[in-house]
């Protein structure tokens, strides 16, 4: 069981007042708040261990390098990767996808090749592929979803052909909160020899994610959405692929031998980590993973699922409610509108009541286009949220409606 009261004490920001009201923070899909445990680990690192990594033989450099490589071990175990060589530190999900797209673009994506994504992707999992396709004269195919938020996976076999080079899709949608049947999709793709990238930005914070069990070839996520600091994220890739792929960026830290006529590169994973990496960020990510482990990833998943189901039930009781995607169970997020109420107006009013939710397109304009709306409101939970906060949100929506309708 989750002891929310104690957990809330770990997050100093949660006791803040906003315009005189207690903060109700329900914008966790955008970013989560940070527990003291994480900030203190980072502070401790700067006070006791800071030095550039993999550079000097001196004491501090060894200590910092060790902390960085320990963080890699923590991440590897967290997602159950086969080897440390499969864990690349990046600046976040967007950076990880761009790294992969750049690298694939330099080597494997040729004219007339095809990349498959879905209609429910975040812009970060669309634009790098769209740009790559237009640059390399390849084409982008899109798996649609139905109004319930279900991907039309039966269409996938006919979309795959011998030109298909990759399927890139989200594990959990950042707008609809739907969990996609990724295992099934991966099996379909693998039967045709096509690798799959999972955008796990919205699943890793909420569900146990095991790359071995899922079978995905690549997986990306952001630290800041799972209680770590900003500017750190992960690109997981199967060794057989990462080994073949060229680095997207070159520079310090990834050179094995260099003179003015040529060079050889370091082995995985450093091949993909040119420049001084965000090693303090890596420390914070490892601390966040420790923090999650201490509470229990499974119990967190159960607690959050109960909470988001409660939120959906409460919303469903409201008049004029429109919930986008009728999925069960929701994971992390739910998007909604009230008939006749602009999401911006409602979110602005709730803001003044101390309630933080997101309004707008959520970096997923194709999802908005699917439902023919300009924007939605989205509430998204974390392990520190409570049913009382959901009740306050419902009150907030009622107040907003009373002013706006």
């Amino acid at each position: 069981m989750i002891d929310v009261k104690n957990i809330r004490n770990d997050f100093p920001i949660l006791s803040k007042k906003v315009y005189g009201h207690p903060l109700v923070y329900l914008d966790n899909a955008a970013t989560t708040q940070k527990p003291r445990y994480v900030s203190e680990k980072v502070k401790d690192f700067y006070i006791n261990s800071n030095s550039n990594i993999h550079r000097g033989v001196h004491y501090l450099s060894e200590k910092a390098s060790m902390a960085y490589e320990d963080a890699r071990v923590t991440v590897k175990n967290f997602i159950n990767a086969a080897s440390l060589r499969e864990i690349i530190f990046t600046a976040g999900t967007t950076a990880a996808i761009n790294l992969l797209a750049d690298s694939l673009g330099r080597s494997f994506i040729k004219e007339n090749d095809e990349i498959i994504i879905t209609e429910m992707e975040h812009h970060s999992n669309i634009e790098p592929w769209r740009v790559l396709c237009s640059r390399n004269n390849a084409s982008l195919k899109v798996i649609p979803f139905d109004d319930q938020g279900k991907l039309l996976i039966e269409k996938i076999p006919s979309m795959i052909n011998d030109k298909t080079k990759l399927i890139a899709l989200c594990h959990v949608s950042n707008v609809l909160g739907v969990i996609n049947p990724v295992k099934e999709i991966i099996q379909t793709a693998h039967r045709a020899g096509v690798p799959v990238l999972l955008d796990a930005a919205q699943s890793v914070p909420h569900l146990p994610v095991d790359v071995h069990d899922l079978g995905c070839d690549f997986l990306v996520f952001s630290g800041h959405k799972m209680y770590a600091e900003t500017g750190i994220g992960i690109l997981y890739g199967k060794e057989k692929y990462l080994d073949m792929l060229p680095p997207a960026q070159t520079g310090g830290g990834m050179i094995d031998y260099l003179d003015f006529t040529g060079s050889t590169y370091a082995d995985l994973p450093l091949k993909f980590e040119a420049g001084t990496p965000n090693y303090a960020g890596a420390v914070s990510l490892a601390a966040a993973i420790d923090y999650l482990h201490n509470i229990g990833v499974e119990s967190i998943a159960r607690y959050e699922q109960d909470l988001i189901c409660y939120a959906v039930d409460r919303l469903n009781e409201e008049e004029n409610i429109i919930i986008y995607g009728n999925t069960f169970p929701h994971c992390g997020s739910v998007s909604f509108n009230f008939e006749g109420v602009h999401p911006y107006d409602a979110a602005a009013i709730m803001d003044k009541m101390g309630i933080a939710i997101r309004s707008g397109t959520h970096c997923a304009q194709p999802v908005m286009a699917h439902f023919g709306v300009k924007g939605t409101m989205r509430l998204s939970v974390a392990l520190y949220n409570t049913r009382e906060e959901i009740d306050l949100l419902i009150e907030g929506t009622r107040k907003a409606k009373s002013l706006l309708l």
């Binding site: 315009y19 911006y344 003044k352």
Partner: protein
């Protein structure tokens, strides 16, 4: 009333409004009194970017005075543009262009808006100035 008289009147009207909910209520009401813009004016050209909501502003010169029309699909945005228009409508473009819209500071708008919304407000003011310039040259 000149533009500054109108600003001062608005500041007085806002003064007794306690708290943000009351201010929003006022804005929503005033927005409802703003005449609807005809659909033919809701063009991409008249749309202002930088707002989460859609917002259109257009102006035409009548007897040397600039008459604005505006609309938004969000009620708070509608209210904001309505109070701006209440101040500047029906004045010569030169007067509008040279006046400083200090009421926005005085009613606590600028200090309390988030950067994205402030951005929207700045876009509105830029557009108004641009419309003034266009009509000053005619």
């Amino acid at each position: 009333m000149n533009i500054n008289d109108k600003q001062d009147r608005l500041i007085k009207e806002f003064a007794p409004l306690n708290g943000w909910i009351a201010k929003y209520e006022y804005l929503i009401n005033i927005g409802q009194q703003l005449p609807k813009m005809e659909d033919k004016y809701k063009t991409a050209e008249n749309q202002i970017n930088g707002c989460q909501s859609q917002l259109w502003v257009a102006a035409e010169l009548r007897d040397g005075k600039l008459m604005f029309q505006a609309d938004s699909n969000a009620k708070i945005t509608r209210g904001i543009i309505a109070i701006v228009l209440n101040v500047i409508n029906n004045h010569p473009p030169e007067d509008i262009y040279t006046s400083k819209l200090y009421f926005l500071d005085n009613i606590g708008f600028k200090t309390n808006l988030s950067p994205t919304r402030l951005n929207g407000l700045n876009s509105i003011i830029k557009r108004i100035n641009k419309l003034c310039l266009i009509h000053m040259q005619l």
